[in-house]
């Protein structure tokens, strides 16, 4: 049985629960005098968690995609204080410390390349036609740690479809803001700024790929890649490019930040794969932040049923 309740978050429950559920629940919790004191299992949740794990369930944090029994959402605190976002420093705690002054309003997203409708869009207009969704995904970092995170965002496919890719478009390239004054980490040449990422067009059109604007039902904190980031749950976390300002459709495979920096360790595909080790560590298991014991890493991070067909016939050892 899937348990989607949190154990360590101090969020008010109203922030993370569908309105219809939390209105009832808020009354219940207020009556019980525990509002804001962390989550308890409210009666309303009972209806949300029938037995088997599948993608159709509605939990309080959104749809839990293919989670295992040991997959409990990480606390809001962990999700927002342990980040890899080198634009704000290379330490895990640096982004939270250094990104507080970062302003994300206004924010323009440029759509260009092989599309019928290129243009500069205000973020609000860019996303408005799509329906916001809450989804709980596993996030597996290439460094062999992982989290479970309730994201809020829109399907990437929606946005790309609206841009109207031409028949020549084969790849999607994403680019992070480049502004060393606002992103102090860009003053150091760890990576060849701005950060670039890319997906094959069919990967980008997959329903699991998401453009994210929020976490735990709140606006994305700056350290998590505000105001707009990519989440591709079957790939290593570094594919989830943050603070996106440009989306370009191309015919050639885009260059990506980490595979340019260390090509022997990071490839374009970066699919989570327990059988293909990183040169410096094993990818067979992972440590879940907030839990002590290692757990096995699953093929495509547990999303093999949904995405394996994208790679049929491909040598995943060579295309790491």
């Amino acid at each position: 049985m899937i348990d989607t309740t949190m154990t360590r978050s101090a969020l008010p429950s109203s922030e993370i629960t569908p309105e219809s559920v939390y209105l009832d629940r808020r009354r219940f919790l207020a009556a019980a005098g525990v509002l804001g004191a962390g989550l308890v299992v409210a009666p309303a949740l009972g209806a949300c968690a029938p037995a088997a794990a599948d993608a159709s369930q509605q939990g309080s944090l959104g749809t839990p995609y293919g989670l295992q029994p040991y997959d409990k959402p990480n606390s809001y605190e962990d999700v927002t204080s342990y980040n890899n976002f080198y634009e704000f420093g290379t330490g895990k705690e640096d982004p939270k410390a250094n990104a507080q002054q970062f302003t994300t309003k206004p924010w323009t997203v440029k759509v260009e390349g092989l599309v019928s409708k290129p243009g500069d869009y205000q973020l609000e207009d860019f996303l408005k036609p799509s329906k916001m969704e809450d989804r709980i995904y596993r996030m597996r970092c290439v460094e062999a740690w992982s989290m479970v995170i309730p994201w809020r965002g829109v399907p990437l496919a929606d946005v790309i479809r609206r841009a109207g890719p031409t028949s020549a478009a084969k790849y999607v390239e994403f680019t992070t803001l480049y502004d060393p004054k606002r992103m102090p980490g860009q003053g150091m040449r760890y990576l060849d700024w701005p950060y670039n990422e890319g997906l094959r067009l069919d990967e980008a059109m997959h329903p699991l790929a998401m453009l994210v604007t929020g976490v735990y039902g709140r606006d994305l904190p700056n350290q998590n890649g505000a105001p707009l980031r990519l989440v591709v749950p079957w790939k290593y976390g570094f594919k989830g490019i943050k603070s996106i300002v440009r989306i370009r459709l191309t015919s050639a495979m885009p260059k990506t930040a980490w595979s340019e920096a260390i090509p022997s360790e990071y490839g374009f595909y970066a699919n989570v794969n327990p059988e293909v080790d990183h040169p410096r560590w094993s990818q067979a298991t992972e440590r879940r932040i907030g839990q002590f014991r290692r757990i096995p890493t699953l093929m495509f991070n547990g999303y093999a049923d949904q995405v394996a067909s994208l790679y049929s016939g491909m040598d995943l050892r060579r295309n790491y």
């Binding site: 962990d78 080198y86 460094e143 410096r280 094993s282 298991t285 014991r293 290692r294």
Partner: protein
């Protein structure tokens, strides 16, 4: 060599103070790590194992550097009583590297703890991943030094003791290389350690050259004979 100045005799309580100072980081780190893991505190961030593991590694290097710092410090200050504390620092370095290794095996890789990890995994790590190979080699080289640190062993090994203990120049180099290779991109911190170590080793090399030069200068008697 005559003292240039400073304290010719060891201040009272220095030995105890040094032991406490060397012990404190280990107590703090190990406590914080275990408390974060099993009692829900948050001293070391979201991944206390990695943080603790790294801190113990860094303290190992600091203590190794401490052992190398004793001789130059003696030369500069004339505090020759510092010499006997080199062993204290060396043994603490060994204690820290042991804790670093234990943290790695038990809490990080979780040998014997996680059902998904076996000895084959750790063997693969040690043999196939150069930064771990080098770190392990540094640890193994420290074992004989720790074992032969007693007065009895010093007496028994005689001249060979000095030879064996020249490994103190090799071990920190391996340690810094291990650290350098372990980081992903931002090599700022290992570079600082490397620079510091280079300074210490440079001083040694220069000192050795001066000593050698002094030894090969012909004595006045020889000069006269020529």
């Amino acid at each position: 060599m005559a003292p240039v100045g400073g304290i010719a005799r060891q201040p009272r309580g220095f030995g105890v103070l040094l032991v406490l100072a060397a012990l404190a980081p280990a107590v703090v780190v190990v406590y914080a790590m275990l408390s974060d893991l099993f009692m829900g505190s948050n001293w070391l961030g979201a991944d206390p194992v990695k943080s603790g593991e790294h801190l113990l590694g860094e303290w190992t290097l600091r203590l190794l550097f401490g052992t190398l710092l004793i001789t130059p410090l003696r030369r500069v200050t004339g505090w020759n009583w510092l010499a006997k504390h080199r062993r204290t620092l060396g043994l603490f370095a060994f204690a820290y590297v042991s804790l670093h290794l234990l943290t790695w095996t038990l809490l990080d890789v979780q040998i014997g703890i996680s059902e998904y990890v076996g000895w084959a995994d750790i063997k693969k790590d040690i043999l196939k991943r150069p930064f771990i190979t080098i770190g392990m080699l540094a640890f193994l080289l420290m074992v004989p030094l720790a074992v032969t640190s007693t007065k009895k062993m010093i007496a028994r090994l005689g001249k060979n003791w000095r030879k064996l203990h020249r490994l103190v120049y090799v071990i920190p180099v391996l340690g810094v290389v291990h650290y350098w290779m372990a980081v992903k991109l931002d090599i700022t911190e290992p570079a600082i350690y490397a620079l510091f170590l280079a300074g210490l080793l440079y001083w040694r090399a220069r000192q050795a050259r001066i000593t050698r030069a002094a030894a090969t200068v012909p004595s006045p008697a020889e000069t006269v004979a020529a």
